[in-house]
Amino acid sequence: MTVAAEPHPWRVPPRWVLLVAVLSIVCAEIGGASMARFKVELTRWARDAMLARPAVHGLVGVRDVDERILDEALVKFDAGLRLFHMHAEGMGLVIIATTMVAATVARAGVARRVIIALLTTGGAGYPVGYLVWSALIPAYGLERAKTIAEWLVWIPFGSATIVALWWLTGLLALRMIGR
């Protein structure tokens, strides 16, 4: 009995890529566990930091008004940590899957290396934006913290991933057309 050889065997992405993806998942797990373990301490720290900067958060010193502002900021602070956990976990798997496709499909050396680099840095960097956003909320307020995280992390790293994914999609389409 003979076994037919696979026409396009999957190629494993470079080791550093796998290391980054696994590290991203490890960070997500540590982040999730820490979030649950230190929930009270984190909330207390964020609340104290916000109370120390009433002007930043628009606190007016009236409990009925301020409690809503603090509650919203604390909910978003917690959401940032949760979204970091979720995205870092997911993007680790996305990095492995997409770089494997890139390593298999992209023939040209430069294109392959650039796509893999973009997918890896973009995928690993993007979730950090949620951590940055969350950490900046107590000091800068909801909107300012979001703007900083956007320009510092989400837009550059998110764009890197999107560019790489479209590039990879284009390569795949070209290969399908060329058959």
Partner: protein, 209 residues
């Protein structure tokens, strides 16, 4: 041509890259409004013993004591007496007075803050907006009770509230920018109308005859 295609691609990519999911905030009840709802639903279910226990151990009574100086005399004792007597409408009326008083005090405080000099128009509008949210959170709980007893008061508060909201809305598109200076008259109207309602509502415990 290639440059045009690249520019188009970059523009298309920028939109999804900027749309980050950061979660949505749904305002929660505070301890006072939670306790109010517990007492209200217990009374509606005619479980007065439960309502009395919830009132005596909850945040509602603690808040009544904390605001005793600005509340009509006998409000807390009268509410407890009405619960003990299984008098649902009287419990509702007293709780209406309590929340009307909370909303009135917030309107007075907001007016006082806005009268103070300093701050940009945006920051003053933001302060006004937050006060309006707090006022509505309390008043909204008893608006139905107010409307069934004194429809003119309910309409007056709603109209003043709607007017106040238009002065603190952030500028979007063709809409006029926030004008916090004009916020004071509707706030004063809310406080005055609610004061009249509170003063017109007796709070001493009713005698059974």
């Amino acid at each position: 041509m290639t440059r045009v295609m690249l520019a188009l691609l970059a523009t298309l990519l920028a939109a999804p890259a900027a749309a980050h999911h950061v979660g949505a905030y749904v305002p929660k009840d505070n301890a006072v409004t939670i306790n109010f709802k517990q007492v209200k639903f217990s009374v509606q279910a005619r479980k007065f013993d439960i309502a009395l226990r919830l009132f005596e151990t909850g945040a509602l009574r603690a808040e009544m004591r904390a605001h005793a100086a600005t509340l009509p005399a006998g409000l807390e004792d009268g509410t407890r007496a009405a619960l003990a007597a299984s008098d649902g409408p009287e419990v509702e009326r007293r709780l209406m007075i309590f929340f009307a008083a909370l909303a009135r005090d917030l309107a007075l405080e907001a007016d006082r803050r806005l009268a103070e000099a300093g701050g940009t128009a945006e920051s003053r509008a933001a302060t006004g907006r937050k006060f309006l949210e707090a006022i509505w959170r309390y008043y909204n709980l008893v608006d139905f009770a107010v409307a069934t007893r004194d429809n003119k008061t309910s309409v007056a508060v709603r109209l003043a509230f709607d007017e106040a909201e238009t002065y603190v809305k952030p500028a979007t598109g063709a809409a006029a920018p926030a004008d916090p200076a004009r916020l004071r008259p509707p706030l004063q109207r809310i406080a005055q109308v609610l004061s009249t309602l509170i003063e017109a509502s007796p709070t001493h415990a009713r005698r059974d005859s």
